[in-house]
């Protein structure tokens, strides 16, 4: 089966470094390479799946990305089980509309807020403009073309609980941890 890392140890290290820097600096857009899942999945989302998923991390595929070919690819390269319910997922992959409602994903518990889902949101493009991001990891403010604002504000209101997000398009990725405060562009002026 094709599309996996040719050199998993090194390519996972590169992929994670990009994912970590993205999560540490919300809004930063980073480039990754080396993986290609089937069925229209971006290179960046493919890299994240290979870097982060294994038999301990159930994956939920949104209807936009639910295919036998992708399920097989994930099983072969990562061993992660593909699950039927959002609430069982440690990772989820899909287009934004197809991932909703967010309220069904795990948000962690008061004593273990880390036990929450990470969503990989496939996007047409990634741009450093749009919603305004402030909070940990951001010096003053950052911009990112988030698909909407309300859902991320509702997620932020749950802090320290909540989901965390990667956004992927072609070979680029960005991230939005639950700690980020999201403001619509017009509200800032």
């Amino acid at each position: 089966m094709t599309g996996g890392f040719a050199d998993p140890s090194i390519q996972s290290a590169w992929g994670f470094r990009a994912a970590m820097m993205a999560m540490a600096r919300p809004g930063d857009i980073l480039k990754v390479s080396g993986a290609q899942a089937p069925a229209g999945v971006s290179v960046a989302a493919s890299v994240l799946l290979l870097v982060l998923c294994d038999p301990e991390t159930p994956v939920w595929l949104a209807p936009s990305h639910h295919s036998v070919a992708l399920g097989r690819w994930i099983a072969f390269h990562t061993g992660a089980p593909v699950v039927d319910r959002r609430g069982d997922a440690v990772f989820a992959l899909g287009a934004w509309d197809s991932l909703l409602p967010l309220t069904d994903f795990r948000i962690g518990t008061a004593e273990y807020p880390d036990r929450s889902a990470t969503l990989i949101v496939e996007m047409e493009t990634l741009r450093g403009q749009g919603a305004v991001l402030t909070g940990p990891g951001i010096s003053e403010a950052a911009g990112l073309n988030l698909p909407e604002v309300a859902a991320f504000r509702a997620n932020r209101a749950l802090f320290p609980l909540g989901c965390d997000f990667f956004f992927t398009s072609r070979d680029r990725l960005a991230a939005l941890p639950r700690s980020t405060v999201v403001t619509a562009p017009a509200e800032v002026i």
Binding site: M23, L52, D54, E56, G135, D164
Partner: protein, 294 residues
């Protein structure tokens, strides 16, 4: 799967640690549990920091390892060699040249930049441990933001000593939410916890990872009538003359003669190379601050 694992740990272990690091960054100051692995070095030698570094390193990194500010103690040298051997990374003593710095008990004097990662070796990650030994209870206290006991302990200091006597591992509050142990750095270093760099904390024996993203708000706990003071010895470095760096007091002869030298040896050498000289620069030893590790 190949026999060769970049940076020693197997891929599944690195994945588990990497997932913990991402969650730690998403909830600054919160301690994420992880399944710590046996490392080819004893606990107390920074196995938590080593595992975090192993999960973060890429072949292009330049690694610096410091132990109480010095690059050449047995502990620092052995960790540096470990990663030279298992990850093939370049190493450096220069703070500004390093992309990843693993540290025990100090933050470098030179401000870190956005492309640097600082990995702390942490012996006891739980700031409430000395007040409440039960893990189930400290977890509950964090979840309810019940931090009154920490303040009580600091206030007892004031009642007993007239000031807050805690001078290492001075507790901080992160982004107004979690109280965090910054590892046994001197409280002088606490202001540097607000940094452009990514800061990761690894506790091997206690199996915890926590993090501070860049520019994270980190406040040292204090009281209105007893504000936090990041104090240090009231001297200048006897070698480089710096009066702003953290100093170690070193016995220099059998007659009890002593001198004060920068704990950050790279910082001190850099200043001397730039022509700054302290009180004893001519007569002092060439490599300061290095007690031979036993």
């Amino acid at each position: 799967m190949s026999d060769y694992n970049f940076a020693y740990l197997d891929e599944q272990t690195k994945r588990m640690i990497r997932r913990a690091i991402l969650k730690a960054l998403a909830v600054p100051g919160y301690q994420v549990p992880f399944a710590s692995r046996e490392m080819p070095m004893p606990y107390g030698w920074g196995t938590g920091g080593v595992q975090v570094s192993a999960a973060c390193l890429v072949p292009e990194d330049r690694l610096k390892v410091i132990d109480q500010g010095a690059d050449d103690t047995t502990n620092a040298v052995s960790i540096r060699r470990f990663f030279e051997r298992t990850a093939g990374v370049a190493t450096t003593g220069r703070t500004r040249d390093a992309t990843l710095i693993q540290t025990r008990h100090r933050i470098p004097e030179e401000p870190l930049t956005r492309d640097q990662i600082l990995v702390y070796q942490v012996p006891i990650p739980e700031p409430l441990r000395f007040l409440e030994p039960r893990e189930t209870e400290t977890r509950k206290m964090h979840s309810l933001e019940e931090y009154g006991l920490v303040h009580v302990k600091l206030y007892e200091d004031i009642a007993r000593h007239g000031q807050i006597a805690t001078s290492y591992a001075y507790p901080v509050k992160v982004e107004g939410r979690y109280v965090m142990d910054p590892s046994p750095i001197p409280k002088f270093d606490n202001p540097k916890l607000e940094s452009a760099a990514v800061q990761l904390f690894g506790a091997g024996r206690e199996q915890r990872i926590y993090a501070l993203p860049p520019h994270c708000k980190v406040v040292s706990l204090d009281f209105e009538d007893h504000p936090f003071v990041p104090s240090k010895a009231d001297h200048a470095c006897d070698l480089c003359g710096s009066d702003t760096s953290y100093l170690d007091e070193v016995i220099v002869d059998d007659a009890g003669g002593r001198m004060f030298v920068c704990s950050d040896t790279d910082y001190c050498e850099g200043r001397r190379e730039a022509g700054h000289l302290g009180r004893l620069a001519a007569s002092g030893p060439s490599a300061p601050g290095q007690e031979d590790a036993a």
